[in-house]
Symmetry: C2
Subunit: 448 residues, 2 copies
């Protein structure tokens, strides 16, 4: 009873898209009227709105608010079908995509498998400092954060309390800044009302960045403003600081030890290994260096878009952000359609729509063109832009409700620990390294 | 910096409540003005609205919609604190509750640790037929159900397709009836629009019940009506059928084999093992046979409420439903307050508020007092009662929105597979037992 979507399937070129993120979905939709049959393969059944993932991690949103079944997005697109499957390899010569249990021939291929976090070769750090790329990552971070407060509530040894209530975020790009700001808000506004046994002023959020300022790709003025806003929220900002070790006891910056139960990773990024498996030139992060039309050198029927692509424009690599992925996905799709029609491909041109990073309640920084803005207005812009991009009417409503609730009530509605409460692998009475004595801290980080 | 909630803590009797379900939370709230200090211990940080858990399993609701942090429920109750911890034992003589890392003395104890599912000693069945008691259970069931449709979409062997699309629900109590009805609706309304490769009419939902009718505790007329509504939804109802084996290939009813990739368990219930550990008489399911005032025989300062309690009234055991747990929790709390005040305890009296089971969109059966009702009206009553009981304003709104959306759009908004797509432990080409040939089925179960 297997029904083939198009009766004349063999006559129509087969476009395989691997990855249902921003680039892959945008490409599939762009090809909706092209004379092709599309198979979109993803190992997850949902598209994830990654820019809001940190809100799931910090218990402001439900997973279902920012994820949407890929199958439903493409429901009405007759020339596309969706396959849940893991691609294990690509044979460029035979024009085949290998799945765990199937070999899928293609006429055109778009690889859009994105990136994950990287620990700069220190893979042992991952256990102590989870990154944030998937729904499961977000729920794991949420579990650790909420479990830390639960552990503090039960902590009977006052000497252990500072480490229990210290949160270190490594990396001050947009995700790190958003996480640090949200953690500080959770601790000071929400948790302070719910817990009895510990003094919420002991809460410490440390944001560590190797560069000399937060949000390094942003304009210097915006970085300064963001740092100021973070400090106002009580975040300790440590720029020019290199993490040399992470373990159960916390984080080392050279000789300095920050005793912390909870460490979150928002630093390195590595491209999906499928890129390197193609045997074509990649950059240090494993991104494929594409041709101007986004095709793979020597393989004009194979295209790359999104975080897996390394594309330089005016000497700068296009950043790994959602608008770039959307634009590249559409451009690659247009070039596939051109090739199908026997026309010439056109070079990709990235249009910078601007940058936005939110820091906390009514706090953000942004830049659109030459206009820089900060504070409440930037936060409003950030809010509207993100809502507008969220796929699906229902998700939009649910997210708006969650945010409105959070804004007015300072509450976080999704504070569930699922799975077991996380316990770091150390005995509370005998930490691997004794917590450092709390240095006297300047008073401003903990303004109430 | 440990701050004790009440300065004169030692002078005030300490009430320990184990379990933050309906009974435990109701008891804590009932004691809000009593001269006691309360510690509520739960191994989860959230109260779960179990009557709606099947809606999370069937992707209609998000986990956050039906769960709420216990800590927040008790936030403003000055005499109560909440502890996230696992109780490993109870020493009735020393009046101590043992946690994994702490011994907690009590003056009064309320055990309300509830029940979980039981496989009648066939623990090996659990891997093939998950039950539904926790958020994780619900997400696991959701994962299996949605993964089955994904597998069907990719199934290349037509002979395997019927087993891939067969869902067996074991047990036709309210949970089983709700699951079977929802599965049938998902398959026929939502999934049919999203998938391309298989004929949705191959979908088969089988509801197996050992008793001679569905919803055995309900009036016979309501059981008949429920069965009729289930059949109208396309569910195959198999009453008087005993499951003799469950494995990777499906379910056996004696000699009859139902080939099914997905089997869900909604049959047996076993009380929390803490009941049996007390060394006092229990019933077959491990529930503690309590005194009329809900105390444990020989231990007038120890009380039991909720699904862990075996309480007979007019020769019938009080059922394991939420209203009974709420009533018993409050009654136990009143008796604890009476004992603190030096007054006599009073016997518990269960007031049957009626029964309600929903079967699908605008389909339900119910009974309040002597009034029985079915169909759309019963569904409305069910809807209103469940909303009214849901704790927390935000949850109420989110659930109503989810349902309204589902009702009008026949869509299910929370269709995420988290974790990996579930793969049963069998090679698709070599099932442990070959699927039985599909018997010709009567046409009415698959009306569109």
């Amino acid at each position: 009873m297997r029904v083939d979507p198009t009766p004349s399937a063999a006559a129509v070129p087969h476009v395989v898209i691997v990855g249902g993120g921003f680039a892959g979905l945008a490409a599939a939709r762009q090809l909706r009227r092209a004379p092709v049959r599309i198979t979109l393969v993803d190992r997850r059944n949902h598209h994830l709105f990654q820019p809001l993932l940190y809100q799931v991690a910090t218990a402001a949103l439900n997973p279902g608010d920012i994820a949407y079944p890929i199958r439903s997005v493409l429901r009405s697109q007759q020339n596309a079908r969706t396959i849940l499957g893991r691609v294990t390899g690509i044979d460029l010569r035979q024009r085949q995509v290998q799945l765990a249990d199937e070999v899928m021939p293609f006429d055109y291929l778009l690889l859009a498998t994105g990136a994950t976090h990287s620990y700069f070769g220190q893979d042992g750090w991952e256990a102590w400092a989870p990154g944030l790329k998937t729904i499961e990552d977000a729920l794991e971070i949420r579990r650790r954060v909420l479990s830390a407060f639960e552990a503090a509530e039960r902590q009977t040894d006052p000497a252990m309390l500072p480490a229990t209530l210290t949160f270190v975020v490594v990396g001050a790009g947009p995700t790190g800044v958003e996480l640090a700001g949200a953690l500080s808000e959770i601790g000071r506004q929400t948790v302070a009302k719910d817990f009895r046994s510990f003094d919420p002023r002991l809460l410490r959020v440390v944001l560590v960045e190797g560069a000399d300022r937060v949000l390094p790709p942003y304009a210097a003025r915006l970085s300064a403003k963001a740092e100021q806003q973070l400090r106002r929220l009580g975040v300790e900002v440590r720029t020019g600081a290199k993490v040399t070790r992470i373990d159960a006891s916390g984080v080392w910056l050279g000789d300095e030890h920050i005793a912390a139960r909870t460490v979150l990773w928002a630093a390195g990024v590595a491209a999906s290994p499928l890129g390197a498996s193609l045997g074509v030139p990649t950059d240090r992060a494993g991104r494929v260096k594409v041709q101007p039309d986004l095709s793979v050198p020597g393989h004009p029927n194979v295209f790359i878009a999104g975080d897996l692509m390394h594309f330089e424009q005016q000497g700068l690599a296009v950043p790994g952000v959602a608008p770039a992925a959307l634009q590249a996905g559409r451009a690659a799709a247009r070039n596939i359609a051109a090739r199908v029609a026997g026309a010439a491909t056109r070079p990709f041109r990235y249009r910078d729509k601007g940058s936005l990073a939110t820091i906390g309640r009514a706090k953000a920084v942004g830049q659109i063109g030459r206009v820089q803005f900060t504070g409440f207005f930037a936060w409003w812009v950030w809010w509207i832009v993100h809502i507008a991009y969220l796929i699906g009417f229902r998700n939009r409503i649910a997210v708006m409700m969650g945010w409105a609730w959070q804004y007015f009530a300072f509450a976080r509605g999704a504070r569930l620990i699922t799975g077991r409460a996380w316990e770091p692998g150390r005995a509370p009475e005998a930490p691997a390294v004794p917590p450092v004595p709390q240095a006297p801290r300047t008073p401003e980080p903990m303004l109430r």
